[in-house]
Symmetry: C2
Subunit: 196 residues, 2 copies
């Protein structure tokens, strides 16, 4: 029932008119069928993976505390956010290639990306989830930003570039801003008072 | 010597062309003289006050840990950031009125405000400091945003509205983003590798 509701909402709500191509998707299955056929979906709800270059913060333990808090708060909304740490750009690119093979939408955080309001981000977040069969990936480069090969089309997939702000954040801080916005998206969709 | 260096930098660096009026400022004293005549400046360096409606976070201790970390890191740059908590809009407005009386620039965080890159924020941050005789105030409203009377000219002072992002943040989270940007501004000015 939960996924029916999600699909209904994603269909009814106003979504930005921009059409984003995620490359070849199995033409035989509709989005609804893909959601229904995904065992991951049945077990885990909406699965968001954040791929990031770097190490789980050591000295800045508040960052991990903050991310954990939002991850826990997201569980009742059936949204599972997991962070995958990559030791270098090559490892990140390899991870993204495996996402593309599985037809999972990959959203890259990049200063050249589209800027969203939280409401627009909410609409697109649930749209990406629908396209990916309740799975999607956000990608954050290391201290030097994203590797150039991920900003260009890769294996026939056009990257989706998103910017959180005109301001620059550290990549660790960007992860926190992103998780808070995912939590905000779930609260906006629920219609709670968190987002006024 | 430190203040000479600051004034020199603030004079030499490229600043946005937009002219912002802070209302009546003593025409007899130049900015340099006002810096020299300010006893606060001599004792404490650059003093930034963040006025915010709300209570020092209780359950989200990571927020306080994060802000404290940046405040500590700012000390060697001679930038003192203090947060003043206001229990309601009236108390905030009263605080801002006292700032205006002392001719301290007040920057309001508001979704309608100007959006900056971190480099532009750095230029304006040091410009505001120079105008205020090494003192300035940032103002963050409560959960409902800034009170309307602070967004309008008050006591002959035109408000400076600044927006951190198209995205919405909680006001507590906005305080953290702001402090990180102040720290980033000091690192940009020093030319360290923090801002790449």
């Amino acid at each position: 029932m939960k996924y029916r509701k999600l699909l209904l909402l994603a269909t009814c709500c106003s979504v930005p008119r921009e059409v984003i191509s995620f490359g070849p998707i199995d033409p035989v299955l509709s989005a609804r069928q893909r959601v229904a056929s995904s065992s991951t979906t049945r077990c885990m709800g909406l699965k968001t993976t954040i791929r990031i270059v770097g190490r789980k913060s050591g000295s800045e333990s508040w960052l991990e505390d903050a991310c954990s808090m939002y991850e826990t708060r997201l569980k009742p909304a059936n949204i599972d956010v997991q962070t995958e740490w990559h030791k270098n750009d090559q490892s990140l690119t390899k991870g993204v290639q495996s996402d593309y093979v599985r037809n999972v939408p990959v959203v890259m955080l990049d200063p050249r990306g589209k800027r969203f309001t939280s409401e627009q981000f909410t609409d697109d977040f649930y749209k990406w989830m629908e396209i990916g069969g309740s799975r999607m990936v956000f990608c954050i480069g290391g201290a030097e930003g994203l590797p150039a090969d991920l900003r260009a089309p890769l294996s026939g997939h056009k990257p989706i570039l998103v910017s959180l702000s005109n301001l620059t954040f550290t990549h660790q801080f960007a992860r926190l801003v992103l998780i808070e916005q995912i939590y905000r998206a779930s609260e906006i969709r629920k219609g709670t008072g968190y987002h006024k």
